[in-house]
């Protein structure tokens, strides 16, 4: 099976750093910047690109980018899947290569969010007005409530939330592109202003601004174009199934079900013919500190409840056995929704290529994993490997 499948590789990456920028700098302008950086990194031109996919939640129609990148007539698909936008965009471009539509594809994501928590429209998610008006439709409430339930069910301490956030800011301090570069102790984080208990302000990711892009190539072309191509061994996306506990849910059935993240991760590993135990560096959606904790288990990287020991031993730090979010994740970079999943992919690509600088994971990892999760219950996961690695 796998021998017949078309291989897809990442051959170039470009990031417009996430954070707060000049009010006059548009999301689309950041998208153009990231696209050009990725094309330059790949050593190809925009005219070489035979298929493009772009994602943005609030900052315009991505295919408008052709106006500044060049009117080459390239097919350009727009994606808007919440926090999973970039994962879905990546899958769409990879499938275009597998389907034979092109040898080279560009994937770009960008967003420029206003300050403060996200505001969501009930109608956009199939709910009536009362759900928003009465103050139930707030993403951070869901994060806090899922965290509390998870920590309670698996006998984990609230302190773990402070430890995860402290690790994120330590990584941010090592990443020149990160938004939040000041290390904070777990105690400082635990004592900070409470937003949605048990979550304090430093345990929640902030909407931010930024853009990210990658160039994908069919495997046989990748080796010619790139010294160290990274193989997109799998990309899978899923919506929620019955019984999962998801954001913006007025009700849940008493029967528990597995989350979209469980399904997407399982499908990605199966497609890559690898297992979670093979992963040497991972990116997990950490829109809040607790999300990183339960996503470790939902994606299969550890058992439920095993997080305390792993994190106490520093195993999820860049020099640990299972480094997670080595660029500081959403907590240290904020989240421009359309770009966030590509930031994850870029961090893993740099790690697998040995280009991650001060946050480089030792021992040249060969297998990486990324995971995004978004409203109203969607996940996309990738498995990235050093090209030539056989399962």
């Amino acid at each position: 099976m796998s021998g017949a499948r078309v291989e897809v590789c990442v051959i170039g990456v470009g990031l417009h750093p996430f954070g707060r920028h000049d009010p006059a700098l548009t999301g689309m302008a950041m998208g153009a910047k990231a696209s050009r950086l990725a094309l330059a990194d790949a050593g190809v031109s925009w005219a070489d690109i035979g298929y493009a996919v772009g994602g943005s939640n609030v900052s315009g129609k991505p295919d408008s980018l052709v106006g500044v990148l060049g009117l080459t007539g390239v097919p350009f698909v727009n994606v808007r899947n919440g926090c999973a936008t970039a994962g879905v965009a990546l899958a769409t471009a990879a499938n275009a290569i597998r389907a034979g539509e092109t040898d080279l594809a560009l994937v770009v994501g960008f967003d420029k969010h206003e300050r403060g928590a996200f505001a969501a429209s009930p109608a956009d998610y199939g709910h009536a007005d009362w759900y928003g008006e009465t103050g139930l439709m707030v993403t951070t409430q869901f994060f806090a409530m899922k965290d509390r339930r998870y920590l309670h069910a698996h006998g984990l301490s609230d302190r773990l939330l402070g430890q995860v956030a402290a690790k994120a800011f330590r990584c941010g301090a090592l990443n020149p592109d990160a938004w939040r570069r000041k290390a904070l102790t777990a105690d400082e984080i635990m004592r900070a202003r409470m937003i949605n208990p048990p979550l304090t302000q430093y345990m929640l990711c902030s909407p931010s601004e930024g853009a990210a892009a990658v160039v994908l190539a069919r495997g046989d072309r990748a080796a010619d174009l790139c010294e160290h191509p990274v193989r997109l061994a799998a990309v899978a996306k899923r919506t929620r199934r019955f019984g999962s506990f998801e954001v913006f849910a007025p009700w849940l059935p008493p029967q528990a079900g597995e989350s979209a993240s469980v399904d997407a991760a399982r499908a990605a590993f199966a497609s890559a013919e690898l297992s979670p135990a093979d992963v040497q560096v991972a990116q997990l959606q950490d829109t809040d500190a607790g999300a990183e904790i339960y996503h470790m288990a939902e994606t299969g990287l550890c058992a439920d409840g095993a997080q305390q020991e792993l994190i106490d031993r520093g195993e999820t730090a860049p020099d640990g056995r299972l480094p997670v979010n080595t660029d500081g994740g959403c907590l240290a970079n904020g989240e421009p929704v359309g770009a966030s999943g590509l930031r994850q992919v870029i961090d893993i690509v740099l790690q697998l290529q040995g280009r991650a600088g001060a946050r480089q994971v030792p021992g040249r990892p060969r297998v990486g994993f990324t995971h995004v999760y978004g409203a109203p219950g969607i996940s996309a996961c990738t498995v990235l490997t050093v090209q030539g690695l056989t399962a």
Partner: protein, 176 residues
């Protein structure tokens, strides 16, 4: 007094939430859906949900949410939010009472939540849950401190099915 949304309540006095029970698989949705999330059935009967349950998880909204949130007449004040296990279904709800006392598994009961004045001057209401034994009556007003509210509690116990379901929900075991 009018409901913030006509779909939420089976009745306002006494307050009971409305659910939709799938004729095919029995799954209960809230508010009643037009299709079953479990089996894709489209025949759903409107049922009254239990007015008692147990707290499944909770938090507090400490900062005023952006629109479309609408602050009450007196302005924003931090409020509790949680999921309450009613046995057949776990519903998301505003919570009343002191969050310092909130604990997963604690018994909760339904209350009305006054929101803002309607066009006719009478309150527009939504629903909330409050700790079952916090010494307040079902309308949310405080007792004088001497009366015990067993009368009000007994008044809801005539629906044996609902209370039995809530008791089943106490274990919360199925969801780990």
């Amino acid at each position: 007094m009018t409901a913030v949304d006509p779909g939420l309540f089976g009745s306002l006095d006494p307050p009971r939430l409305a659910g939709g029970r799938c004729a095919n698989c029995g799954t209960v949705s809230f508010p009643p859906q037009t299709g079953c999330a479990r089996c894709a059935g489209t025949e759903l009967a409107r049922v009254a949900l239990a007015d008692r349950g147990t707290l499944w998880t909770w938090t507090v909204q400490a900062l005023e949410p952006k629109a479309p949130y609408r602050a009450p007449g007196g302005g924003f004040a931090p409020y509790g939010v949680g999921y309450v296990d009613l046995g057949d279904v776990i519903v998301e709800a505003r919570l009343l009472g002191d969050p310092a006392g909130f604990e997963i598994g604690m018994p909760m009961r339904l209350a009305l939540l006054p929101l803002w004045p309607g066009p006719d001057g009478s309150p527009v209401v939504s629903y909330a849950f409050r700790p079952a034994d916090d010494g307040t009556a079902h309308d949310g007003t405080a007792h004088d401190g001497t009366a015990d509210d067993s009368t009000a509690d007994d008044g809801t116990a005539d629906d044996g099915t609902a209370d039995g379901n809530a008791a089943d929900g106490n274990t919360g075991g199925e969801r780990g």
